[in-house]
């Protein structure tokens, strides 16, 4: 039995299902990131775990104990809010001490714990300040110290980085990740930022319209997306829809893409291809697709080519601007051929289910669900 288990968790608001039967097993010390666009149900899921939102159905089991009926103050979850939610009338040290004051603890123990937490987030010199006298980054560290002070069973982070300056964000993401790993904190974080999620998670949960699209490690999602949505959301895959027939995908506008892998079942299909796995070359016979360069942009480390197969279908290719894998630059208006290996493309059928590549070693999705 896992440490924390969400079992068919659902939340209904009137006619809409904000969260639709989310099932997830979380191990002790694991960092899980719920990722998805706004309105996908990730925050509602987090708030159900915290106890601020009642589940319409399903169970939350922590250490073999059903906690779904417990009020928030009896769940032992440390939560860091998007706006930090510090108590404005209390100094930093009193903010951190708040949760300890709600517990039976001697004054000496409490003060020692507060001091330890403030050292941990490097704010010991600001203990007497009021929250409004701190910068956003400092406020956020107070919020983390306050949540950790109670030694929570689970740490919940609701978009913890979204109110920080862009340049601070990556540093803080790393700090949180290191802290989480070193203290083996079971953590669930919610974010809409794919980069942030990739950088911090042990496993990611991609959500859309209240449903879990895929659960897995970064590589799982990136290399083996379970749905076109995951392919697009994680790493911005090219998504092309068309009709699969005889190893080719005929797209809107009449152009054909020669699939690198071999797939069963003809009919409507969607192809996902990673931009950075596409090689551009001067027109050649053996290629996945042919087109005309529409835009060529030098982005620093990468060069991006937008290639038009026809007036309605475009494919983006990205490659390093220097080094052994550096791409040849093509001018706008030049004809090019595009090539990619079978391992870099994913085909989905009309109901967005993955179609396995028959020539490949079995690319099981079992690994994804059985992991953990």
């Amino acid at each position: 039995m896992s440490y924390l288990r969400l079992d068919g968790l659902a939340r209904r608001y009137g006619e809409t299902l904000a969260v639709d039967r989310v099932t997830l097993d979380i191990e002790q010390g694991e960092m899980i990131v719920l990722l998805g666009p706004s309105g996908c149900g990730k925050t509602t899921t987090l708030r159900m775990i915290a106890g601020f939102v009642d589940a319409s159905a399903g169970r939350i089991v922590l250490e073999d104990r059903e906690i779904g009926q417990l009020p928030p103050h009896r769940r032992d979850m440390g939560m860091v809010f998007q706006n930090y939610a510090l108590f404005p009338h209390l100094a930093v040290a009193r903010n951190v001490a708040f949760g300890l004051e709600m517990r039976t603890m001697t004054r000496a123990e409490r003060e020692a714990r507060v001091a330890e937490m403030l050292r941990l987030v490097k704010l010991d010199h600001l203990a007497a300040r009021l929250p409004r006298q701190l910068s956003g980054g400092q406020q956020q560290r107070v919020a983390i110290a306050r949540a950790l002070a109670i030694h929570p069973k689970v740490l919940l982070l609701d978009e913890p980085l979204s109110n920080l300056d862009a340049e601070l964000r990556q540093d803080v993401a790393r700090e949180i990740r290191l802290l989480q790993r070193d203290r083996k904190l079971t953590t669930i974080m919610v974010t809409h930022d794919q980069q942030e999620a990739m950088a911090m998670a042990d496993r990611l949960v991609v959500m859309r319209d209240g449903r879990v699209q895929q659960v897995g490690r970064q590589e799982d999602l990136y290399e083996r997306p379970a749905t076109p949505f995951v392919a697009r959301f994680i790493g911005n895959s090219n998504i092309v829809s068309g009709t699969h027939t005889g190893g080719r995908l005929v797209v809107e506008g009449g152009s054909a893409i020669t699939l690198a892998g071999a797939y069963a079942g003809d009919g409507p299909a969607t192809l996902a291809v990673r931009p950075e796995r596409i090689t551009l070359a001067p027109p050649a016979g053996q290629a996945q697709a042919h087109g005309t360069v529409l835009l060529s942009s030098y982005m620093g480390a990468m060069v991006e080519h937008v290639v038009a197969l026809n007036p309605t279908t475009q494919i983006i290719a990205r490659a390093p601007s220097s080094g052994p894998a550096a791409t040849q630059r093509f001018a706008e208006g030049e004809s090019v051929s595009m090539m990619w290996p079978a391992s870099s493309e994913t085909l989905f059928d009309s109901s967005n289910h993955l179609v396995p590549n028959r020539t490949d070693a079995p690319r099981s999705n079992e690994r994804i669900s059985s992991h953990a």
Partner: protein
């Protein structure tokens, strides 16, 4: 920057500024002149108010205790009791109105604030008639009791408390309450440790406003004071019926000082303009 860049107001603009200044001075004069005049009159060494006075004296102030002491004390007691009761009901009402969306919320909100819109004289008369009606039908004496007067004052104090509590909560982050709950605070503890501290300026402002409203009230007191018991406002009115002497001005000064002190105290906690917007 060259000299040509320096902004020079035109003649019209300068005339406009002059007019604004004049208007400001006149307004201030209109506000403060009666106050200053009251101070001035209270020091006349005359039995009647006549210009110019023979001389000046502070003797009138020494008579306040004897002539109006009991009334001031009654007014203070009523105001303090009414404020306490208003807070007891008004603070939870404010929290409830701000937090929950329920059927009849708007009606309740209007009801709680309605004494603001009804003339005090009408409230006084209505309560008086009600008290008589209750007495005739049940034999319970209500009219002329201090308790009824205090309850009537609660009625006019409450809207201020509710309104200022609501204003005090408008900037309150509800997530801080969730944070407290996640840290182990039960719902009562959340209110005590997080919500009430956040409301503190609103509560203080509401209490002081309510105090002033009660202390200055005349219309309700006129109907509900018991024989032999006088509030300051009624006592002053009665006194004015027979005498016009500097003693009334002296009493007015005392009242101005009490209310002014309350307002200054208030301003330390909240900017008044902000609280009653």
């Amino acid at each position: 920057m060259s000299a040509a860049d320096i902004y020079r107001p035109s003649l019209g603009e300068r005339a406009g500024e002059g007019a604004m200044t004049l208007l400001l001075v006149l307004s201030c004069a209109a506000i403060f002149l009666p106050l200053i005049l009251t101070f001035y009159l209270s020091a006349f060494d005359e039995q009647m108010i006549v210009f110019p006075p023979r001389g000046y004296t502070l003797a009138w102030y020494s008579q306040i205790q004897a002539k109006f002491g009991a009334a001031i004390w009654t007014s203070l007691r009523i105001a303090l009791a009414a404020v306490a009761l208003s807070l007891l009901v008004g603070i939870p009402a404010g929290i409830g109105l701000q937090r929950y969306r329920f059927r009849g919320r708007d009606a309740l909100s209007t009801f709680l604030l309605s004494p603001l819109t009804v003339p005090g004289i009408a409230i006084g008369l209505a309560i008086y008639v009600l008290a008589i009606w209750v007495e005739e039908n049940t034999g319970v004496t209500l009219a002329g009791s201090l308790r009824l007067l205090i309850l009537a004052h609660v009625l006019i104090c409450m809207p201020w408390v509710v309104r200022l509590c609501l204003a005090g909560l408008s900037n309150h982050e509800r997530t801080t309450e969730e944070a407290a709950a996640s840290l182990g605070a039960n719902p009562l503890m959340v209110i005590w440790r997080v919500t009430l501290p956040a409301m503190r300026p609103g509560i203080i402002a509401g209490a002081l406003f309510a105090f002033i409203i009660s202390f200055e009230n005349l219309e309700i007191n006129l109907f509900l004071v018991a024989p032999g018991m006088n509030t300051l406002s009624v006592a002053v009115l009665q006194y004015l019926g027979y005498h016009i002497d500097p003693l009334v001005a002296a009493v007015a000064v005392v009242q101005i000082v009490v209310v002014g002190a309350a307002l200054m105290l208030l301003d330390r906690f909240v900017r008044i303009g902000q609280a009653i917007r």
